[in-house]
């Protein structure tokens, strides 16, 4: 199907239109999935469903399975799965992939890691693709101008059987970020600022396209952080038009197009952008130079303030709902209105997750940590996004910087971001975390999460309390 010629269209409209097999009704299309990524925890029931219905996998070559959510990250534990339920999930994925002919990066594979780190790293994610995965942070792939979105297990089964989803078309939202990032602020702070601006539900039913000077200046890793966390304002898709940086990133990766076809693919990739004059349902403008390092204080990712600010007072909330949310969040977080953020002590620091665990993130952390020590009474973990990131960080000497400073240096995995493995916070713990969700109980029942950039989390580890990176020096 080709888009209507007369009207300028958005990148989102082009991509969704391009993969439309057929229109179902005014709101829904049957959308073709170019690549389906599977993990061990949202796929088992889908495979069981296929078996019980006597169906087959329609196109196993278009799927890639990665173990990441439940595996331990300790050196000694990776090959010795004490957690029998987790071991069973991995065993079942292995069996399913073998039986249905699906490629899998299991625990023994040097390419393994967090799915949203590994798939781009290996060159699987390319501009113009539609990618589905049973994980909400599949929006990450928008950094490449690929339409990535999360699906539930029923849809995982649907994609396995049909290579499509029944897809509700989204509205178009533009987030234009002008200006340059100020010292100490990162792409994590940009997306946290966007989430605070539009709210946790502000982009439900929308695809966000990021544009503007600040986006152009972001590295691919920074763009992945941005698109990854767009999920936290409800966006079902996030997109950045491909540019030279995108092409440079893709060149020579194991699953990128070969030299033979790369030029042809590049020509197509360069064409992927919203037309001039394309209409957006909503436009949000942000000046990057106004964005300070941000930290969440509450239990929803939109509850953040500048690191040099104070905990907001619920009585100054604009609506009763907002007031109620703040009161309940502060009660869970055990925080008092008016407290300076930099007076909040932490006992745990976690640096990792599909949002912020790439090599560039770890370099940021190393710049902060270099020559310093993790504060007494603080347990600090660094979990690289992939084994490849781990190897490179070790080769560059970053890992030594971390371990010399007193950080635990782990194998890759989702780990304490959602605490499905044994990296769980104890009740009452307070954690500075480079992750994406500060939900109640997310990192452990009764544990409290403050979201921030990797560098800010590192600074918190050094000082034992939330810390303004701009006052610590060693800022890039």
């Amino acid at each position: 199907m080709s888009p209507p010629e007369s009207r300028p269209t958005t990148l989102y409209q082009k991509l969704s239109h391009q993969n439309t097999v057929k229109q179902i009704d005014a709101e829904h299309v049957l959308l073709y999935i170019d690549l389906h990524i599977l993990n061990e925890y949202t796929s088992p029931q889908a495979f069981s469903g296929i078996r019980s219905a006597g169906r087959s996998v329609f196109c196993p070559e278009a799927a890639l399975a990665i173990v990441d959510h439940v595996n331990p990250t300790r050196d000694t534990a990776v090959d010795d799965m004490q957690d029998k339920q987790a071991a069973e999930q991995i065993r079942y994925l292995t069996k399913n992939c073998a039986e249905f002919g699906i490629e899998m990066f299991g625990l023994g594979d040097p390419r393994r890691g967090i799915e949203h780190v590994v798939a781009p790293e290996q060159g699987f994610i390319q501009p113009g693709m539609v990618v589905a995965c049973g994980d909400s942070h599949t929006t990450t792939y928008g950094a490449f101008g690929a339409l990535g979105f999360g699906i539930g297990t029923s849809d995982v089964e649907h994609v396995l059987c049909t290579q499509t989803v029944v897809y509700k078309l989204l509205k178009n939202m533009k987030v234009e970020i002008s200006g340059k990032l100020s010292a100490g602020a990162t792409s994590k702070d940009l997306i946290m600022a966007v989430i605070a601006e539009v709210g946790a539900a502000g982009a439900v039913g929308q695809a966000i396209e990021f544009g503007g000077e600040a986006i152009k200046n972001l590295s691919m890793a920074g763009r992945m952080t941005l698109c990854n966390m767009a999920m936290e304002c409800g966006a079902r898709a996030a997109l950045i038009a491909p540019d030279q940086k995108t092409l440079d990133y893709l060149k020579g990766r194991p699953r990128s197009p070969s030299q033979k076809t790369f030029q042809r693919a590049s020509n197509y990739w360069r064409s992927l952008a919203s037309d001039a004059g394309a209409e957006f349902d909503r436009v949000v403008m942000i000046d990057a130079s106004d964005v300070p390092p941000l930290v969440t204080f509450g239990t929803s990712p939109d509850q953040s303030v500048a690191i040099d600010a104070r905990i907001p007072d619920p009585s100054s909330a604009r609506t009763q709902k907002e007031r109620d949310s703040l009161i309940s969040a502060l009660a869970y977080m055990d925080l008092t209105p008016g407290t300076l953020m930099t007076d909040i002590r932490v006992d745990h620091v976690f640096i990792g997750s599909c949002t912020n665990s790439r090599l560039e993130d770890l370099r940021d952390v190393a710049r902060v940590v270099n020559g310093r020590r993790v504060a007494d009474g603080v347990r600090a973990l660094i979990v690289p996004g992939s084994q490849e990131v781990k190897r490179r960080a070790e080769a560059e000497g970053l890992a030594k910087t971390f371990t010399d400073a007193g950080f635990e240096w782990r194998h890759s995995g989702c780990s304490m971001c959602l605490a499905m493995n044994d990296d769980v916070l104890p009740p009452g713990a307070r954690c500075a975390s480079s992750t994406n969700r500060n939900f109640e109980g997310r990192q452990g029942r009764g544990a409290r999460t403050h979201l921030m950039s990797p560098a800010m989390a590192a600074a918190a580890a050094i000082n034992g309390k939330l810390t303004d990176i701009r006052r610590l020096g060693a800022v890039r």
């Binding site: 539900a201 194991p254 109980g441």
Partner: protein
């Protein structure tokens, strides 16, 4: 998955007015390490329903007298945001929840619910606020939902029509298997795939596998 035609929904509704109740809260992580869909009722709202010792928390609405037979939840904005875990929907249904009425839902949660025959009704925030007040007393917490007429009847004269996408309504009412319905279009999908891989040959799966250097 195989679903069943949605039967009329009638019963006690419980108020959960908080904003942004996420799927981590609806189904905490410790219940996700399973390879089947069963035994998730205990996990639904687990940390809100039970204290550390496993005793029911009296402050949680579903543990309160009059709400023990709840079949409908009336929720605050953005219910089911966050993680894609379909376990949240399975657990709610196993707990006896058959419908949710709220002003908006997380996108993936909405899709998951519809696939499983958990009816999600969207009303204006003002209407939800009225309903929340009505059901805050268990004596007036009875609600009837008529999917055919797209109507909610509560007590104290509460009656509202609601919007429902016809395709989704038909799937809920017919109980037809989602995959079967799509497999009717398998010919179209195959033709589409062939066109796409011809136009963009580098998308051919593993076309270059083994030829590229390792990282």
């Amino acid at each position: 998955m195989i679903s069943r035609p949605l039967k009329p929904i009638s019963g006690v509704a419980a108020p959960l007015p908080g904003s942004n109740i996420d799927t981590d809260v609806i189904m905490p992580k410790q219940f996700l390490k399973t390879i089947n869909r069963e035994n998730l009722a205990n996990g639904a709202f687990h940390d809100l329903r039970f204290d550390e010792a496993g005793k029911p928390r009296p402050d949680f609405v579903l543990n309160q007298s009059g709400y023990d037979q709840t079949v409908i939840l009336v929720t605050g904005p953005n219910f089911g945001c966050g993680s894609s875990r379909e376990h949240a929907v399975w657990g709610l249904m196993q707990l006896g929840i058959r419908a949710i009425i709220g002003s908006g839902y997380g996108g993936i949660f909405f899709d998951n619910a519809m696939k499983n025959g958990l009816l999600l009704v969207t009303l204006d925030e003002a209407d939800v606020a009225v309903l929340l007040r009505t059901i805050s007393n268990p004596a007036t917490a009875q609600i009837d939902i008529d999917l055919g007429a797209q109507e909610i009847i509560g007590r104290d004269g509460f009656a509202r029509r609601f919007q429902m996408n016809p395709y989704q309504k038909d799937l809920l009412q017919s109980g037809q298997d989602h995959i079967d319905r799509t497999l009717d279009a398998l010919g179209d999908i195959k033709a589409f795939q062939l066109d796409r891989l011809t136009q963009f040959p580098w998308l051919t799966f593993n076309a270059d596998a083994g030829t590229a250097p390792s990282l």
